[in-house]
Symmetry: C2
Subunit: 724 residues, 2 copies
Amino acid sequence: MKKLLIGILSLAAVSAFGAEGMWMPQQIPSLAAELKKAGLKIDANRFADLTGNPMGAVISLGGCSASFVSPHGLVVTNHHCGFGALQFNSTPQRDLITNGFLAKTRDEELPAGPGSRIFVTTNIKDVTARVTGSVAASLSNIDREKAIDRNVKQLVDECEKPGGVRCRVASFFEGAQYLRTTQMEIKDVRLVYAPALGIGDFGGETDNWMWPRHTGDWSYLRAYVGKDGKPADYSKDNVPYHPAHILKVSTVSVNPGDFVLVAGYPGRTFRYRTAAEVANMQSYSYPSTIKYATDLNNILRDLGKADKNVEIANASRIKGNDNVLKNYTGTLTGFNNFHIVAQRQKREAALAAYIAAHPQAAKYKDVMNQMNALEQQATAHEQRNTVLGWIVRSSPMLAQSSTIYRLSLERAKTADIDRESGFQQRDWPRITEGVTRAQKGIEPNSDRAGLRYFLNESQKLPSGQRIAPVDEAITKAGGVEPFLDQLYANTKIGDLAQRKAMQDETTAQLAARNDAMINLAAAISPLSLDNESQQKEIGGAMSRIRPMYMEALRTSSGGRLYPDANGTLRITFGQVQGYTPRDGVVYTPLTTIGGIMAKNTGSGEFDAPKAELDAIRTNKTAGYIDAHLGAVPVNFLSTVDTTGGNSGSPTLNAKGELCGLLFDGTYESLGSDFVVDPDITRSIHVDAVYMLWVMDAVDGAHNLLREMNVPVHFGNGASASTGR
Amino acid sequence: MKKLLIGILSLAAVSAFGAEGMWMPQQIPSLAAELKKAGLKIDANRFADLTGNPMGAVISLGGCSASFVSPHGLVVTNHHCGFGALQFNSTPQRDLITNGFLAKTRDEELPAGPGSRIFVTTNIKDVTARVTGSVAASLSNIDREKAIDRNVKQLVDECEKPGGVRCRVASFFEGAQYLRTTQMEIKDVRLVYAPALGIGDFGGETDNWMWPRHTGDWSYLRAYVGKDGKPADYSKDNVPYHPAHILKVSTVSVNPGDFVLVAGYPGRTFRYRTAAEVANMQSYSYPSTIKYATDLNNILRDLGKADKNVEIANASRIKGNDNVLKNYTGTLTGFNNFHIVAQRQKREAALAAYIAAHPQAAKYKDVMNQMNALEQQATAHEQRNTVLGWIVRSSPMLAQSSTIYRLSLERAKTADIDRESGFQQRDWPRITEGVTRAQKGIEPNSDRAGLRYFLNESQKLPSGQRIAPVDEAITKAGGVEPFLDQLYANTKIGDLAQRKAMQDETTAQLAARNDAMINLAAAISPLSLDNESQQKEIGGAMSRIRPMYMEALRTSSGGRLYPDANGTLRITFGQVQGYTPRDGVVYTPLTTIGGIMAKNTGSGEFDAPKAELDAIRTNKTAGYIDAHLGAVPVNFLSTVDTTGGNSGSPTLNAKGELCGLLFDGTYESLGSDFVVDPDITRSIHVDAVYMLWVMDAVDGAHNLLREMNVPVHFGNGASASTGR
């Protein structure tokens, strides 16, 4: 494939140079001098070549990042990114979540579950002209949004036509630029190895987002393709994928001050959101999500206490909610600690002063007012829409019904391009997989308990925020409880075969079933569609104004600018560094296995496997001791700029070797989706040396070590924490 | 007065030299070389001279330590040591506890409350020969104990005969040595100044025992004497006491690595207790105290929520229990972390090996067995006696009744020397003061609620551990609740005038009152006396064996030995130093006022006064900035070896100036009453510079700063946090 060299962006910076910045790969050559100064020993230009080394080895799992570490398609990512595969393969009798898993041979590798994907970015192309260049300024806002949407779909369709790839057109710099990414889509993904939960999630929710940390947050997958080397659905006959490039795993721990670079797929940041938008997040969105996720998790946890099957069914949802909870709670603290709204107000005041002082900037004069007016419009029904969202989210059965019902509406459209994104032909196979995958999380009693809570919440909404179709349904049934009785007594949506059948039916066929859950989804549908339409209206207006806002920010300041995270491939670099979380306390940047012993309680969240504790107690550590620490390292802190989606990203050292896996940020960093504070913002990585040590001395994953071409020190007679 | 030079002890050490050691002042000259090496700039011999400088300025408050800081008897100690005086002078209308207090003139100074004392140690004399030298080896254990007790009382009586002094004969090295201390007893103590609770107890229970810390734990008292310069009861005509020596207060903050020395009155340590004794503390004494103190405090806290008067009445008890709770909880952790029982077992095994290998040590052969047998005997009824103790402790009214009843028994004895320690003539005035002082804490509803809980606990005791008199009383009344009804309906013990009258009555007169509380005290009395007798029996046996055990330990090892803390004047030295509480975390040794801002929540335990927050916000700090920190220091850590009773101790710098006040230990140090770990064990001090800054910039205590001869930087227009 041809070498990818996209025109370097020449945007002015609003942020000081440093560890802040989720840079687009094509921006990296312009940062070569800074990277060299920071300690990078290899040619910075290599990071712009997506099909070369090392970037050709950096992959997305959709929601997580990962990398190839062997020529046979072996992939390393976080434990929490492989969690779904562990859940999919777990039963009360064979609890892989708790005990971990190790395939000693390829035959023992397990399907990672429907919908598991590996995406390899192969091309990034600027398509701005084709997305917005042809859109007439005279169009109404909603028509403008629809025109942009149509152009985007067209670009995706063209790109995917050859097959074997997924394409996406993403907005950068708030709509100022559109880039199309092409990703090879590997569909046969298998679970190879994950340590026991007491390593992979050591510290659990208590330690999540926390430092000091001692979590072995890794798991291994393998990419399989057809015998022709092309992506194919799961088949016994598939063969391991042979990536063009792999990352060499470092056997040497990082030290304080060392250069590190992270390449991965950060999901979303809000660095360019306005003061009004941030203020609404602080006062409503975050607090309401915290309340609802807390209450839902309490309900699900209680139900799981008595029944292991229920516990397993709800595990993934609970884990997801917990993660959101700690993130949101910390971010709320960050809103206060970093005075984020005040910082934005200051930025906007400075911008206003600049505009007032520069006649040529007069065109930006009304930008802030327009954006603020749109923000008011967008949040006018937020209470109603928040509760409605949770009603669907709290019930996997209703969520499935809604998806299937919507699919029937979209499928009825004749032209694929008219179908809503997410429901086009290209999306149907993923929807099908989702229908199957959902079965693991469907547990009617938990479903009903969660839905009950949010239906009751809907009854507390003030007038002007009521959810009319829900009100009507409840009134008709004579209350929440009778409504739930009817709902769960008269639905087949929980039955996988029935659900699969429904998925292919027309709206009329679905209606003819008179299935209570489908009926509820149908009743809610018009309101959802109306909300979507309003969002498009606002989106169209925003797509005119936000690029102007970015332009104004760029014009009013100097230096480079990086775009907000949007799920596309990015590079961030910095150094291994601790921080001072508060007066009188210093967090040092590396933890050691001694800390595992100190934290281990032998149960609950701090329950390291006996094999690991034995290895620590008996100093079975030769070959893994870091000279600086005098101990085996576990996790380390760095100044790199990351967010959700970066999980599993390879952390590279100055030589471009994998020296760790990014897996978390610190609690004090949690405002960093909005503002980066170089003194405080830190990312957390698992040290590659810890991973190798556990694989060697604890789990006996010697087959994988050999496959990765790293030395095995304890090849004989090692006991394993996995597969108990 | 003559210079005090007691023969230097030449005991072998069982501990490595370092910051460990609560040294007797007379041992200090033998440590001169080490002190110099550690950084002391003044002559070490000065610390053996109790009437010279600086030791002449170091005083005891009975339970706390303190020091003179002006020629006019001004005393500085901890806020929590002056808390009783604040409580005594507080009313719901004038809440000195919350708002603090500052006497701008001597006329405004307030009596610190009955029983407040200042003790100035003037002499320490070795009286071992007179205590145990004449006791015949043939005596029974109980007679031996009685003989020792009689000798001690005789020595005290002789010593106190001239008047104006309190004397005490204390056992050192587990009874191997007896020293008699003579203390001038100043009885007119007045409250001069305490900062607001939001400074003096900033952080409250949450931060208690914790680092990093930001507590302004100081208060000021003044010693008054009669016009003749001799101790006298409170009188308006009394005049300030003029101490022969005072401590100069340093205006320069300490820095990491600086030499520091603490002189004070540590209460009790268990460094020489056996493995069996420590194991029983770990398995029973500590857990049971934690349970009971927790439950009692929950009861008292609930009752205080609705009524400010109730809250004030119980404040001191709750605070005391909370302090015990955190201490005991941390110590329990320390038992595990430091493997204290295992360490003792190791020490005892080493001793056994030594004895087996050395024929001349054969006499020690049975020492451990004998001590272990006595320990078993001593704990045979520990459940019964623990609950009995809490029954009395939970009810201030029953505690007063018990004291008054016992006093009537002891007063009946003709010879004062036959009276039990604590009930001799010399103790009567203090008992009288206690009877008055108790009134502040008597609140019948709280009293009943606490007593109810422990009476119910007594009903759960297993057979063999039952409290017969309590069982009988409850059975007779027909249950706990009817018993309580009768108890509180038929007692006048809560009435101060009645209680004062009771205090002077004979046992027969008390019985004739038919007061229900007195009757309960009388019913419990025989069991208490029997317990005392058994303790004496065991004490007599132990007094033969423990000195042999110490001798064996001394013989089997080399170097200096310091005695366990016993409430007598001690000196400990070390340096300003942080520590690593856990993997990945370093605690730096100084905190700053910036940390107050960060912790302040504006309510509850973290509620710094507005005047302080304003002073921090407006950088009203000139003259108090530490160059090393670039900020005003607040608290610091050091390696000195301290325990309860050391609170309020002056911390001296290398020049012998007061550079801080010892007020706490860290949570991780809490096993240090048993074992000192030089890497972990730390004491917490308030920096003198913080105290001076608050007095100057926040509280406007300029009169006191001038009295202490330190510069005033903010003499005009300073607002005050106190007296709101």
